[in-house]
């Protein structure tokens, strides 16, 4: 409970003592936004850890060998992840459901075991040392990025593109009968998701002293998936709430010390049993939304056409 007591009574002190946690929350929130984009278009892709790795390694390698400013390195990392996603997506996006999930996991492992561990510039199994780590300053771009990206993706779901994604998610055959070019729109979602994951990877290197290939394994991908599952995927807030909740959970249950993992797991199971649609289900935060809010949302609306 110390966690919450401090959060509400002494926010400044909380911030100072939990900076790394808050930075990690922000990075996980961006990863959650990334997986939301593919979920929203009906694709179960688990390639995010791979795209993170591309973003992270590109940033650090450019930082070591090139005189370019750091923001440019990060941008390059994100864009390279996007470029690789086109190559991965072309063969892989023909698959659906669990087959797509398996193929994208294959990509994550192939990238880590086949590429990163085998080319000298990545430091192979040893990892890479970040020449300019900045744990305190690095939090600033993260905290700025999260709200901007959240807003952009939220608006994206209202565009022609977002509407096509929703249609594809609901029924691909029907979507093509409405003239929606299904493969192209799926690919766009996959690329945007990869760029976001690459960007999150780039931001993460900035607050760390060291990048380790083990960070970008399937475990990481599954962790990102649980953000979306626990938070809910009906809107972009869901995965973000999931990310924040799951990132802070180990801290919240810290007092259980040795049983921390057990309590962590039990809470996850409870959420999945009692909120299968995620913490943020249809119609917003159903548990904590006050009655008047629900009533206001479902009110009889006057004809909007006039």
């Amino acid at each position: 409970m110390d966690f919450f007591v401090q959060l509400f009574t002494n926010p400044v002190g909380f911030y100072n003592s939990h900076e790394l946690l808050i930075a990690q929350m922000g990075i996980n929130a961006i990863l959650a936004i990334a997986i939301f984009v593919t979920f929203y278009s009906g694709q179960l892709t688990l390639a995010n850890a791979g795209f993170m790795a591309i973003g992270a390694y590109t940033t650090v390698i450019m930082n070591i060998y090139l005189p370019t400013p750091l923001p440019l390195d990060m941008l390059a990392g994100a864009l390279l992840a996007g470029a690789v996603s086109v190559l991965v997506g072309l063969p892989v996006l023909r698959l659906r459901g669990v087959f797509l999930a398996i193929a994208t996991i294959g990509f994550v492992e192939a990238l880590r075991l086949g590429v990163i561990l085998n080319i000298p510039i990545t430091g192979e199994g040893q990892g890479l040392k970040n020449p300019t780590p900045d744990p305190l300053g690095g939090i600033v771009p993260i905290l700025i990025s999260v709200p901007i990206l959240t807003y952009m993706v939220w608006r994206l779901t209202h565009t022609r593109l977002g509407q096509a994604w929703a249609a594809i998610r609901e029924d691909e055959l029907a979507a093509s009968s409405n003239g929606i070019n299904v493969p192209v729109y799926k690919m766009i979602a996959f690329i945007i998701s990869a760029i976001l994951a690459g960007y999150a990877g780039a931001l993460e290197t900035h607050i760390n002293f060291f990048i380790d290939p083990l960070e970008y394994s399937v475990t990481r991908t599954i962790q990102i998936l649980t953000f979306a599952v626990v938070g809910g995927t009906t809107n972009v807030i869901g995965p973000i709430v999931g990310a924040v909740f799951l990132t802070s959970l180990p801290e919240i249950v810290r007092q259980f010390a040795a049983y921390r993992d057990v309590v962590n797991g039990v809470i996850l199971i409870l959420v999945i049993i009692f909120r299968p649609q995620g913490i943020v289900g249809r119609g917003g935060l159903a548990i904590i939304a006050p009655r008047w809010w629900t009533r206001w949302r479902t009110r009889e609306r006057p004809a909007a056409a006039h």
Binding site: Q163, A164, A167, S177, N178, G179
Partner: protein, 534 residues
């Protein structure tokens, strides 16, 4: 009037089956064109060929749009466009909209959102405008919303009460209407409706008919596929009939409904033989059937009283009563969607009726669990056979005997069946999926027999089978009956069913229309009417 859609020698086969076999059609602009044919005739395959979901193996499908530019400018300015080998979204872009036989709405989106998604091709990319959603930039949004509401109103879904409801929560008829609204959102030249009235009651069908006529009056060309002959005959200007993938007739409704080949296709291969064999006797028999309601058995093995079954909002069976006596073959016949399979499914415990009585001996079928019903000797052979394609013939049979505790005699029965049906014996180690349709049907029946039925429910045993295979299957049914099994048979091939049935009931839109002995119903023109409309 000029042609809008031209099909020339279109071919498509799946494996060895000619689903669409050298079909040529011409749909004139501004008309309502009906496409009819028995189950499995290739109608939906033809729609999928036109709309790009399936590619033809040969032939051409041309869309001729001279009168007005296509709705999605940029593509297809030419007078004639080849549709074959274009992907579905490109065909839609040329102004061909469709609905789906099995509803394919965006179930978790609201009705309005469904229609808005249908306007995809009319919406410009607005990613940047939406990023700064100030009212001046979103004028387009409001215009589209207004159009979507108008479309909903047009198909009979008032937008104020239906617009914000999720598609999945709408009633079945409303979902069909919403699909039409979504297709219309494309602003099409040609609207293809694949069974828009399936599963609707007569009043709902009337509304569909009015809607189709209204759309046509507004200048839309419609291709209508439906099993309800009354609907098709009354709205269409021109009708083509498919059977086993071939076009067997083409012309105005009046000519088509009198065409002997069409009557044969619908009522079964024996129609003409029967008519020829009993010259002059029809009228006498009609008089006989209309007075004698079927002689129901005094103490039936199966007794059904006032059975009512619904699927959510749609009522499929509306108060059906009948009985099956020990040792009889009783047939339920009627057009597709009449509710025949629903009746069988509610007897075998797969579905639960919402009211009525169904007794099998001492057992109350409305509450008994399905496994208990089977153990008491009421066994269903489901429509579409449902054999396990990746197991061998023998394994399928072994699973059929799974519920039995007398392992050794079950084993003997399996061997006996393989001898009795050499078709199965010779193929015992073949995968069931490699059998032909008719062989699969016999396997399904044999599997049903292993549960030692007293009453066997057969659901459409001749579905999708070639004529000579239909003969084989009916021989098998006759043989089983001679061995002492009572049979309740559901069939679309009415004349074949009536030939072997002791008694039969004609089912139409969930009610029993006629009943009588098989021989009498066979000559009754009312039966023909129930199938072909009139």
């Amino acid at each position: 009037m000029s042609a809008l859609l031209q099909l020339t020698d279109v071919n498509r086969s799946f494996g060895g089956v000619h689903a669409v076999d050298d079909v040529s059609l011409e749909i004139k602009e501004g008309t309502i064109f009906g496409l009819i044919g028995p189950n499995g005739a290739g109608k939906t395959t033809l729609v999928n060929l036109v709309t790009g979901y399936i590619r033809p193996q040969s032939g051409s499908i041309r869309l001729l749009t001279q009168s007005h530019p296509p709705p999605h400018a940029g593509e297809g300015r030419a007078a004639a466009v080849e549709l074959a080998r274009r992907p579905p979204h490109a065909v839609a872009g040329l102004g061909v909209a469709r609905t789906f036989q099995t509803l394919r709405l965006y179930r978790n989106l609201t009705a309005i959102e469904n229609v808005l998604a249908g306007m995809h091709l009319r919406r410009r990319d607005d990613t940047l405008q939406q990023l700064i959603p100030i009212p001046a930039l979103l004028k387009e949004d409001r215009r589209r919303l207004k159009q979507a509401r108008e479309l909903l109103a047009r198909v009979g879904l008032p937008p104020d009460s239906f617009g914000d409801r999720r598609a999945a929560t709408l009633s079945y008829g409303d979902q069909r209407r919403l699909e039409v609204a979504r297709a219309l959102a494309l602003n099409p030249h040609l609207l293809i409706l694949d069974e828009p009235a399936a599963g609707m009651n007569p009043a709902e069908k009337d509304r569909v008919r009015a809607l189709i006529q209204q759309l046509n009056q507004d200048g839309l060309t419609v291709l209508l596929i439906d099993h309800d002959m009354r609907l098709v005959m009354s709205v269409c200007h021109h009708i083509a009939v498919l059977n086993f993938g071939r076009k067997i007739a083409d012309g105005p409704p009046a000519t088509v409904s009198q065409d002997p080949t069409v009557i044969t296709a619908y009522l079964g291969s024996q129609a003409q033989k029967t008519a020829a064999h009993v010259p002059g006797s029809e009228e006498m028999d009609v008089a006989a059937t209309s007075t004698t309601v079927a002689a129901e058995p005094a103490s039936p093995l199966l007794d059904v009283r006032d059975l009512q079954v619904s699927y959510g909002a749609i009522q499929a069976v509306r108060g059906v009563s009948f009985g099956v006596g020990k040792g009889e073959i009783v047939a339920l016949i009627g057009a597709n969607g009449a509710g025949k399979s629903t009746i069988l499914n509610s007897l075998s415990g797969v579905l639960r009726p919402h009211s009525g009585v169904a007794r099998f001996g001492e057992l109350d079928l409305t509450t008994a669990p399905p496994d208990r019903i089977v153990r008491q000797g009421l066994v269903q052979v489901p429509e579409g056979r449902e054999i396990l394609a990746r197991l061998t013939v023998r394994e399928n049979l072994e699973l059929g005997a799974w519920g039995r505790r007398d392992g050794r005699s079950a084993h003997r029965d399996i061997e006996g069946l393989m001898e009795q049906f050499p078709i199965l014996g010779q193929r015992r180690d073949l995968l069931a999926g490699q059998l032909s349709g008719g062989e699969q049907q016999i396997l399904a029946i044999a599997r049903g027999l292993l549960a030692q039925p007293k009453l066997l429910l057969l659901d459409e045993p001749s579905l999708g089978l070639a004529p000579q295979m239909v003969d084989t299957v009916f021989e098998v049914i006759q043989r089983i009956h001679n061995d002492g099994v009572t049979i309740l048979l559901v069939e679309q091939n009415a004349l074949r069913a009536l030939e072997i049935a002791d008694r039969a009931y004609v089912v139409e839109t969930g009610r029993i229309l006629l009943s009588g002995t098989g021989a009498a119903l066979r000559r009754n023109p009312e039966v023909q009417k129930a199938y072909l409309g009139g």
